[in-house]
């Protein structure tokens, strides 16, 4: 098959969990990577090495271990900056996950500052967002008297841009959208929307939780009118650990926002009567940061970079095309979102006529095939298509065509089990 990662079997050896067998001695077929990715040995080893040999708090500790730990932590920030092509490494803020990064933005915009959102202002999202890119903006708009608006979706699961002129107006203060949908797989034209949003002076926020794992990102090379003002992703989906996410924000935006969490490390001077705050990135990193997680994330992004994000994207594309082909051959399957692998991310949500997604997932699980069933934290997008839940298969760089075959076979088994095979 064209496009697969070279030496895929060797790459798979990097991931210890792929050796796991499940109940009934079934080998693991992990097709839930849009939910969380598996971790290569080098990430685990980097974390262990840190904990066993270099553990200390950062910034505040001046001793040798402290210097080592601080250096490792700040080196991870450099790695993230490189991975994103960030214009400046100080624009990289470590959060606990992508959700916190989005909330950081929405939460601080409630308070006095150049970017404050208030009555009469509008925040624009889309109907295909993950709940983490909807609820923070609902909280912001409800709490400040602003209005939340959204792009609808076309029948084939793309953004409906027909009313863009009535949606993006002088009232629009923020446009926040996902780069790649975690349910429909849709890849949005972030550059075009950013260009439009910037014309009215809105802040553009991009949820790259699904994009960062799958495609090369180079912020610095984007024309500034098309470049988002902020972009978030999460460590655990980019072969890194849980407990860490990333907010990249332009210095101009981050400087304009008031502090989010208060505490150690985000201050300049604290007096009981009032405090002054540190510059970015520390301004937004209150308390002891996710140190060992940053070390793990750094190793993860270096691993991805060594494989080459172009190669990872090509692999994902090839596997997705193969899976779409396989699904097309299963009677009763309806894929939601773009039907074609072109311009599409690797998450494939589908319905199987006559079998509830839980039950599909259960039969698959009994054969070692791990997929997700439910609304995948994208309930509005499900509602848009009139479905309550779907089954979702999501591949990653370690997925083989044989695993896709096992998945398709398991779907046939589900049809038989629930008596819907003709």
């Amino acid at each position: 098959m064209d496009g697969l990662l070279p030496q895929l079997d060797v790459v798979r050896k990097d991931f210890p969990i792929l050796e796991r067998t499940l109940a009934g001695n079934r080998p693991l077929v992990y097709l839930d990577s849009a939910n969380t990715s598996q971790k290569p040995q080098c990430v685990i080893d980097a974390m262990v090495d840190h904990l066993e040999h270099h553990n200390a708090n950062v910034a505040r500790a001046m001793h040798q271990l402290g210097a080592e730990s601080s250096e490792a932590f700040e080196a991870a920030r450099d790695t993230v900056a490189e991975f994103l092509g960030a214009p400046s490494r100080d624009e990289v803020i470590f959060t606990k996950n992508a959700s916190e990064a989005l909330n950081l933005l929405a939460n601080t915009m409630a308070w006095a500052g150049d970017r404050q959102v208030g009555e009469g202002d509008e925040v624009l999202v889309t109907e295909m967002e993950h709940h983490s890119n909807i609820v923070p903006w609902q909280l912001l708009t409800q709490r400040t008297g602003a209005t939340l608006r959204w792009f609808g979706l076309t029948d084939d699961g793309r953004l409906d841009l027909s009313d863009v002129d009535s949606l993006i107006t002088e009232r629009t203060k923020v446009v926040s959208l996902t780069w790649v949908s975690n349910m429909l797989g849709t890849v949005n034209d972030v550059a075009a929307i950013a260009r439009r949003a910037h014309e009215v002076g809105a802040v553009v926020v991009v949820d790259a939780a699904q994009a960062a794992p799958q495609m090369p990102i180079d912020l610095a090379s984007m024309p500034v009118e098309e470049r988002p003002d902020a972009l978030v992703f999460t460590g655990h989906k980019t072969v890194g650990p849980t407990g860490i996410g990333v907010l990249w924000g332009s210095r101009a935006l981050l400087d304009a926002l008031p502090p989010f969490l208060g505490g150690g490390e985000m201050i300049e001077t604290v007096r009981m009567e009032g405090s002054t705050y540190a510059g970015i990135p520390h301004k937004f990193e209150a308390g002891t940061p996710p140190i060992v997680e940053a070390v793990g994330l750094g190793a993860a992004l270096r691993y991805l970079t060594d494989l080459g994000m172009d190669a990872v994207a090509a692999h994902e594309h090839a596997i997705t095309a193969y899976a779409l082909e396989g699904l097309a051959g299963v009677p009763g399957v309806t894929v939601l979102g773009p039907q074609d692998a072109a311009d599409r991310g690797g998450a494939i949500a589908f319905e199987l006529a006559g079998v509830h997604p839980h039950d599909v997932a259960q039969v698959l699980d009994s054969r070692g095939v791990a997929v997700r069933a439910g609304h995948h934290c994208a309930r509005p997008a499900h509602a848009r298509f009139g479905v309550q839940s779907t089954t979702r298969m999501s591949s990653y760089l370690y997925t083989t065509p044989a695993e896709v075959d096992a998945f398709v076979e398991a779907l046939e088994a589900a049809r038989t089990y629930f008596g819907v095979a003709s």
């Binding site: 009934g24 509830h356 839980h358 039950d359 699980d365 009994s366 609304h375 499900h382 839940s389 089990y417």
Partner: protein
């Protein structure tokens, strides 16, 4: 670490009784009269149930006169709603609450609780579900809704009634 779900286990989960109730759910639909209506969802998967309880006075206290519902969900949650309504309709509220507790204990017993067929009737078919941690919520969705509804139905009654 326990792990549910081998090929063999599937049949333990999807007992014939469960699949029957799934295909032909009993007491489905929303009916009048009722004293309480609740709406419960399983936030992770989106399964939903709207459930009504009609309680009427009996010789030895209140009786569950009717349980009616509108539900969307998987085989386990649908079958569980059907089994539950059939089991509880006509029972004194006090007894129904005992059945509820028995079912809860079965579900939370990690597969170690021996179900009492005299109490749970078709509900014993759910014994296998207890070994599938991810599905326990499915089986419990409507039971939790019923508990919620019945307590406000009783409140509603005692608020509205003479006693």
């Amino acid at each position: 670490m326990t792990a549910g779900g081998t090929g063999q286990d599937l049949d333990a989960l999807y007992q014939e009784i469960i699949l029957d109730h799934y295909k032909n759910p009993l007491h489905a639909g929303l009916r009048e009269p009722y004293e309480a209506e609740v709406h419960h969802v399983n936030p992770t998967c989106g399964d939903e149930v709207t459930l009504r309880v009609h309680v009427s006075p009996g010789e030895d206290g209140d009786v569950v006169a009717d349980v009616s519902y509108d539900a969307v969900g998987c085989s386990i949650s649908q079958a569980s709603t059907s089994v539950m309504s059939d089991l509880l309709i006509g029972k004194p509220v006090a007894e129904a609450l005992t059945v509820h507790e028995e079912f809860l204990a079965l579900m939370q017993g990690k597969g170690t609780v021996e179900p009492d067929e005299d109490v749970l009737e078709d509900g014993v078919a759910f014994a296998g579900v207890a070994k599938f941690p991810a599905r326990i919520k499915c089986a419990l969705l409507s039971w939790m809704a019923w508990k919620d509804a019945v307590s406000s139905a009783s409140t509603t009654q005692s608020n509205g009634g003479d006693a």
